[in-house]
């Protein structure tokens, strides 16, 4: 295994799903079994990515492999340096782990879909869309430059559009697809401007070159503020893609897509892209930018968590929990807990995929019923689904012995340390509150769905455990939600290979003065054993060390408390949740109506744009065209007037002349006898007169 072989392997993994997409799209209508082609391609991609990850992580642990080629060359440009745009891929540990994650989740979603989508009239088309989705996501993961990042970023947008709107006969589905694409575009504009800013300054799109330039002190527009602006602009992309406040509105609507699609989009791929992007550009984020990011992350963690508490649609609950968890990750990046952000990204991918597929299994067996108030008691009918769902929920709630506990604990420790170092305690506070809420709403969902008595007898009777193709992914994913894959010590994630040797906080490129205090490199003490903290100052190492056990204890107990509350309210019915809601009606309504974001956006931006477009169109029709037509009309009227003038005055004169001539004619007509002789007589007279004149 040489480097070039690894690169080729990575390219192969990248393009396999694309081939699957093209073949399945073009021939899917004729050849019914073609979805197996797509599935086997994914199996192959998974195997290859496992091989790739193995060799990369074991043989090239500390190397970053880059391969690029010249894509656009604008020649020798006068006055400025040349513009050469390279495309290429980069392989580092994060990349290969992410590829593996994406491929695992994608493969499992593919397999699940074989059962879930059975009987759909566009069965093969569905798989081809999954193919392009996987391709786009892998592109984002593999790219080594901003432009390609943007390209695949948009392609992810496209594939999400196709998949969310897969059942386009439903108005809600096509609306949701459109909304997802457009809301994403809003963020993309910011990202695009950020990319332009960086390109303007560094004349390249490649990450490594930009990082190097920044570390040499060359900043956008020459100021640290410029760097902050660039970082925030890039973050706009992540806000859109990762459904962060205030652009999170598309994600709940995207539940209109088939449930496996939700699993794919909201677990490992699309929404993860934003976090992944932030992880990629982490070295250039200045302290101010990080603060903005952390704030947005905290808001995005908190608001959806409060919304999820009151939702009755099982997928909506999961959707808001997704936003909330993504908020965690973004917040983690904001507070500098880089490794845990990525760690949570991976663990979340698995357990959230598990949850979505589990809910898919439920929905499938309930004949596309998504309302939890109509479910209940499914535990007995679908034990396997129940157990896997439970495991994944425990992971999401951050209960010990799960992967979620490890990663969430790391993030909370990070916020805690951040609070202790900078005084911004509210990130930690939000983190803990959300941890409690998460546990509460997840178990509320579990209890409403699987416990208690069935609310809808008829559907309940028909419900049955899912088939093997649907159950198998659930089992795999719930297995992946357990702690031992990541660290053998269920209470200390840092003991696992993943965090101890594979993922390291990269070197920060930002000038010292623009960093957080604790990120400043003081090279007095570098803890060589714990490579994670190599880039930060010693105080941070201490702080996070101190934070570890308190947060561990607090978060676990808060999560358990949340579960307890859920049982009190919904299982044992000690308090009636409805009465409770009555008492807190304003808050309940705010939460139930999703803080009215959709309504506000619709009333302001959507209606505003459409209204503006109507006005513009009117303006165009009435005013501009009015001027054109008016001038035409003026010309026409003027010419009509001229015509009248011509008719009456000029022609009148002419006619008068004609009339006079006519009178003369009448008079002279008498002389026109028609007799030659008379004429000759006249000739003679005239001759005489002439002779007289010219005598």
């Amino acid at each position: 295994m040489t480097e070039s072989v690894l690169i080729k392997l990575a390219l192969l993994i990248l393009f396999l799903p694309l081939i699957g997409f093209i073949v399945t799209l073009l021939f899917g209508k004729r050849i019914k079994w073609l979805y197996w082609f797509e599935n086997s391609i994914l199996i192959l991609a998974f195997l290859l990515s496992a091989v790739l990850a193995y060799f990369k992580l074991t043989h090239f642990t500390d190397q970053t492999l880059i391969s690029e080629f010249e894509w656009i060359n604008l020649g020798s440009i006068p006055f400025v340096k040349s513009i050469i745009i390279d495309l290429g891929i980069m392989l580092d540990n994060i990349t290969v782990l992410m590829i593996l994650t994406v491929n695992i989740v994608s493969l499992l979603v593919h397999i699940f879909s074989v059962g879930y989508m059975k009987g759909d009239k566009r069965y093969n088309r569905y798989f081809s869309y999954l193919g392009i989705f996987t391709f786009s996501m892998l592109g984002i993961v593999l790219t080594h430059n901003l432009l390609m990042m943007y390209v695949f970023w948009e392609l992810v947008g496209l594939s999400s559009y196709l998949l969310i709107g897969f059942w386009y006969e439903k108005k809600t589905a096509s609306d949701a697809a459109k909304k997802a694409f457009i809301v994403n575009r809003i963020g993309d504009i910011g990202m695009f401007l950020g990319i332009l800013t960086l390109f303007l300054t560094y004349n390249t799109f490649s990450f490594d070159k930009i990082f190097y330039q920044i570390s040499t002190g060359n900043l956008p527009f020459g100021t640290e503020f410029g760097l902050t602006v660039a970082g925030v602009l890039l973050f706009c992309g992540a806000i859109g893609k990762s459904a962060q406040f205030p652009l999170h509105v598309w994600l709940p609507d995207a539940m209109e897509g088939p449930t496996p699609v939700s699993a794919l989009i909201h677990a490992a791929t699309m929404v993860a892209a934003g976090v992944y992007f932030m992880i990629r550009v982490f070295p250039i984020l200045s302290g101010d930018a990080l603060l903005v990011i952390a704030t947005i992350g905290a808001l995005s963690a908190f608001i959806p968590a409060t919304i999820a508490v009151t939702q009755n649609d099982i997928k909506k609950v999961l959707a808001y929990s997704t936003i909330s968890q993504l908020g965690y990750m973004i917040m983690a990046i904001g507070v500098g807990a880089y490794t845990f952000a990525f760690f949570h990204l991976v663990t979340h991918a698995f357990f959230k995929a598990g949850l979505f597929l589990g809910s898919g299994s439920v929905i499938h067996s309930m004949h596309h019923e998504q309302d939890m108030t109509k479910m209940g008691g499914l535990r007995k009918k679908m034990p396997l689904t129940y157990i896997t769902f439970l495991v994944a929920s425990l992971a999401l709630s951050g209960i010990p012995f799960t992967s979620g506990f490890l990663s969430k604990d790391g993030i909370l420790a990070g916020t805690f340390a951040f609070g202790s170092l900078t005084g911004y305690w509210y990130f930690a506070a939000v983190g803990f509150i959300v941890a409690f809420l998460t546990a509460f709403y997840m178990f509320r969902a579990i209890i409403m769905t699987f416990h208690g008595k069935p609310k809808n007898k008829e559907k309940f009777e028909h419900a049955k455990e899912s088939s093997f193709v649907m159950a198998m992914p659930l089992v795999v994913l719930s297995a992946l939600s357990l702690f031992f894959w990541y660290s053998l010590n269920p209470f200390n994630p840092n003991e696992g290979k993943l965090l101890s040797s594979w993922i390291k906080t990269p070197e920060i490129s930002v000038p010292q003065s623009a960093r957080y205090e604790f990120m400043k490199t003081d090279d007095k003490i570098i803890n060589k054993e714990n490579l994670e903290e190599v880039t930060y100052s010693n105080s941070y190492t201490e702080a996070i060390h101190h934070a570890h056990y308190p947060t561990l204890f607090t978060s676990a107990s808060l999560a358990l408390l949340g579960i307890l509350f859920a049982f009190i309210f919904y299982q044992w019915k000690v308090f009636d949740p409805n009465k409770f809601a009555e008492k807190l009606k304003p808050i309940y309504l705010l939460s139930f109506n999703k803080w009215y974001f959709d309504e506000i956006y619709y009333a302001s931006f959507v209606a505003g744009t459409i209204g503006l477009s109507k006005i513009i169109s009117m303006f165009d029709n009435k005013f501009i065209d009015g001027i054109v037509n008016g001038s035409a009309l003026f010309t026409k009227n003027f010419s009509a007037f001229t015509g009248k003038f011509d008719n009456v005055v000029v022609d009148g004169l002419v006619n008068m002349m004609a009339y006079i001539s006519g009178m003369f004619g009448l008079f002279f007509r008498r002389f026109q006898t028609g007799k030659v002789q008379t004429y000759i007589l006249f000739v003679v007279f005239s001759l005489i007169i002439l002779l007289y004149i010219f005598r």
Binding site: T609, S613, I616
Partner: protein, 532 residues
């Protein structure tokens, strides 16, 4: 190859075809169509041959020796006139990186438009004869390097277009045709005035040493050729270059069409038959921007640089305004027409920054807009042929009825939105990269990026209204694409995808020229400013 008059062959081949067609009787409809197809097909082949023999390293722009496939001889020469002396007009053809791309575009679009014309049923002979005449005029504009010749072709284009819209158009065809004709004629008058002004301002030295006034565009670019007293000469302290520039710009802007001169476009498009819409959007609009790049910019570099901000501003207005106007449309074709306005705004924006990236982007955008919009109009034509309505609200669920068609529609729509991987993205991105790097219009560029969002908005909305949702039972009978329609959409789709993945295919032809133009603009501006 450089000595073979391949450009004349390319340009006048349609005239030969036209004569052939005119000599046929009315009833030989098949033959007429096939002749047109063969002529346009051969043109496409010739264009490809030109691409093969094209030398990437030769810049053109202002240097006569680095133009390629040059044909130059005296066309009109009248000696011994009072006051004027000798009137001399050259037949001067040649291409460089700016025009070769558009020549290729023209041949491609015309070839495909021939397929789109296949179902014309009203007086076929006249239609195809005019069609070929139009073809000649368009190519002539792109290959001529003499202002007079340029103008002749420019005007020649009007006549067939007028009849093609006015005779074979929709219900309001007379209105649209006259509007188009008068509007463009107005622009032509401006161009004519400036052309004459320029003619009397610059001289060219003949072989025998005598100096005569010149229409040669390359001569007009060189400051040294201007007389001291010409009204448009930089040496004349009271020159009218500023006014002339604006007049010329308006002349070209009408064709682009630039806000606020754009209102002929929706009408003309809505009324024109499909093939003519395709040509109108695909090629004719490019003549405006090409004229600015070929004539306004290099001849008036000083004024251009003064007015760059305004050009950018109008580009921005075009982008935003066109997009918003498109959003409010109910007529499918009108929506596409306004989207054209919006997309041509990117070209203007790209031209406003005078950097290599954005100028390349602008020229590439001309090409890409040509192919994408051509495809969009073909798409409208296909659905209109079947449903006989273009009201978007009347449709719905077409995706189920015509899945293959919808697939092609999706490609075209997403290309228009600027989805990466399709050609529209590359040009827009290059435009933005270049425009953003120009400090002068950075704010404008930032506002213009809203166009990306609005574009997605109206396009996806339209897509949803027409293709998604439950199928209206009225459209149960609609058939999916037939063979002829595949011939139209498949090549365009391939071009769109190919250029989206590997834009250098087209970019390589123009980089040298664009760089030369940027350099020339910079140098010339210094020279002229040193005069005053």
């Amino acid at each position: 190859m450089q000595n073979f008059p391949i450009l004349s062959l390319l340009t006048f081949l349609p005239i030969v075809g036209m004569i052939f067609i005119l000599s046929l009787t009315k009833r030989q409809e098949k033959t007429i169509k096939w002749i047109t197809l063969i002529v346009t097909g051969v043109q496409l082949l010739i264009a490809i041959v030109i691409l093969f023999f094209y030398n990437f390293s030769m810049a053109g722009i202002n240097d006569p020796s680095s133009f390629q496939f040059v044909e130059k001889f005296r066309w009109i020469e009248i000696t011994g006139l009072a006051w004027v002396g000798t009137i001399k007009i050259d037949y001067f053809l040649g291409i460089d990186g700016l025009s070769v791309v558009l020549v290729l575009l023209t041949t491609i679009v015309t070839f495909i438009a021939t397929f789109a014309s296949w179902n014309i049923s009203k007086s076929i002979k006249g239609y195809f004869a005019l069609f070929l005449l139009l073809d000649t005029a368009m190519l002539g504009v792109f290959v001529s390097l003499d202002f007079f010749l340029f103008y002749v072709f420019w005007e020649l284009m009007l006549l067939p277009m007028y009849f093609l819209i006015g005779v074979w158009g929709g219900p309001r065809r007379e209105y649209a045709a006259i509007k188009f004709f008068l509007y463009t004629l107005l622009g032509s008058v401006f161009i004519l005035l400036v052309m004459i002004g320029l003619y009397f301002s610059a001289t060219e030295t003949l072989a025998n040493g005598s100096k005569v006034f010149s229409f040669n565009i390359l001569t007009l670019m060189d400051t040294a050729n201007y007389t001291t007293t010409g009204i448009l000469s930089p040496f004349n302290p009271n020159n009218l270059r500023f006014i002339a520039y604006i007049a010329l710009f308006i002349g070209f802007a009408i064709k682009i069409p630039m806000f606020p001169f754009h209102t002929w476009l929706p009408d003309a498009h809505v009324e024109a038959p499909t093939a003519i819409s395709v040509i109108l959007a695909g090629v004719l609009l490019k003549m405006g921007t090409y004229g600015i790049l070929r004539i306004s910019y290099p001849i008036f570099p000083d004024i251009t640089i003064q007015l760059l901000w305004y050009i950018g501003l109008f580009g921005m207005i075009n982008i935003i305004y066109g997009a918003l106007a498109a959003m409010a449309q109910k007529d499918f074709k009108k929506l596409i027409a306004y989207s054209s306005v919006s997309h041509m705004g990117y070209v203007l924006l790209g031209m406003a920054s005078l950097t290599t990236a954005s100028l390349s982007g602008a020229v590439l955008q001309m090409f890409n807009h040509g192919t994408i919009t051509a495809m969009l109009f073909i798409i409208v034509g296909i659905i209109y042929d079947r449903a006989h309505t273009r009201d978007m609200d009347a449709f719905g669920g077409i995706a189920n009825q015509m899945p293959i068609y919808t697939g092609f529609v999706a490609v075209a729509f997403f290309a228009a939105i600027g989805l990466p991987g399709l050609s529209g993205f590359i040009s827009e991105a290059l435009v933005f990269v270049g425009a953003f790097s120009s400090e002068l219009i950075r704010t404008i560029t930032i506002i213009s990026t809203l166009g990306i969002l609005l574009g997605a908005g109206y396009m996806l909305w339209a897509f949803q209204r027409i293709y998604f949702g439950e199928l209206n039972s009225k459209w149960k009978e609609l058939k999916d694409l037939e063979l002829r329609e595949y011939f139209m959409v498949v090549p365009l789709t391939l071009i769109i995808i190919l250029l989206g993945v590997y834009p250098s295919l087209i970019l390589q032809f123009m980089t040298t020229s664009v760089n030369a133009l940027v350099k020339f603009m910079g140098d010339a501006q210094i020279i002229i400013s040193s005069i005053n």
